[in-house]
Symmetry: C2
Subunit: 238 residues, 2 copies
């Protein structure tokens, strides 16, 4: 049977990354929330939060809405990832516009609901549909992006130590970084502002930094629904 364009449906899903510190100060892990499906297809399997695009709803708003409905989370960063539309990715024809989001660790673990759970992004079970591939691609984008943008700050609270920032990079990249080199690179980059506050605890006090708000966090795509600026002006700022 040949499906016509009319029979194609549009869904929006979101890959939401956050950070979970491992017990005993042994680094951190990138985690994401998944939703257990309560009906066919793939009933009982875990899937990305998402839902159908509303008829009058902008794409980005649909991503925020379905994210809030399924996980109660509000992201610190939200960007369109990719449109997935292979004809055989579902039993009916569904084009999924996928967003990816970051939520800060200090809010991420408060909000567990029934049928929603956090998973280690690098050790997932077999997910519904093509969602394993989607998460793989989102992780690839996250790793690429951490190299040339300030995306890591989307996973941190407002004030953080350099060790905590390095932990985020290590969790994203999946490898250890030399602390002295890391400190030098970050201090040279002018994206951080040192504060007069220190983190005290079992170690010697560590200075707290904040992100330089004058620099835009990251590319939010060409047409954010609430941007007052036309595309040309936004480009000029980049």
């Amino acid at each position: 049977m040949t499906k016509t364009a009319r029979e194609i449906r549009v869904a929006v899903s979101t890959v939401i990354f956050s950070l979970r510190r491992r017990p005993g100060g042994d680094g951190a892990t990138i985690v994401l929330p998944l939703v257990k499906r309560t009906r066919d297809p793939h009933e009982g399997q875990w899937a990305l939060p998402g839902g159908w695009l509303g008829g009058d709803e902008p794409l980005e708003r649909a991503a925020s809405r379905t994210l809030a409905e399924t996980t109660t989370l509000t992201p610190s960063y939200l960007e369109q990832l990719y449109a997935f539309g292979d004809p055989d990715r579902s039993s009916s024809r569904v084009v999924s516009i996928v967003y990816w989001a970051l939520v800060r660790e200090d809010v991420s673990l408060e909000s567990e609901q029934h049928n929603v759970a956090w998973f280690d992004a690098t050790a997932l079970p077999e997910l519904a549909f093509d969602h394993n591939q989607i998460v793989d691609y989102a992780l690839w984008r996250l790793r690429n992006k951490v190299g040339y943008s300030r995306i890591a700050h989307g996973l941190l609270p407002d004030l953080f130590t350099l060790a905590e920032l390095r932990e985020v990079y290590e969790a994203i990249l999946g490898r250890r970084l030399d602390p002295a080199n890391f400190r030098r690179q970050v201090e040279n980059s002018a994206t951080l502002i040192p504060t007069d506050r220190f983190r005290t605890g079992s170690h010697r006090p560590a200075r707290l930094y904040r992100y330089n708000q004058d620099v835009e966090l990251a590319d939010r795509g060409p047409l954010p629904s609430d941007s007052p600026l036309p595309a040309r002006s936004r480009e000029a700022r980049s």
Copy 2:
């Protein structure tokens, strides 16, 4: 009236960049083909090549098909750009999955058809729908991408001089580059292989280079329809 998800239609459009040399050896311009609309909405206005997504058609194949149907072009590079889905971008609800493509200059000007014409990408008329914004975003992506990938080669024939490569960069970036610095940077990058052939003409002979085929041209997205590799293997190569 509230539209339901069923009433959302999916289209695919492509922004196709090529290079046109200005007469008199005065640099080059980024150009793109547009199609004059023959029916409402926006009858008589220029628009990006595109069409409806077929019911059983992968997204990338739809981009190639509509591109070939409207312009007879086959791209040297094709990548998904963004999904545009604002509810008011058209009188009916249309989500457009937009691709962007590069075609080499040596084929780009052979294929003019009725109702298809090439335009300077930086001096467009008012296009149908939100297509001006889409072109702006594609230009921004092209400019970003030229900085950290070998995307410029998608606009060149197999053999080219360093001056021709620099002309591509200048056309994309919209500014002149210092020839000696450019030569040094390119020669250090290991992405070019010098050949034993030379371009002769009004100037002194210039060595011809070819692109190093061992290095992948650029990111083609997570799930190219004809790739034999699963997503994980492709990521490992990047």
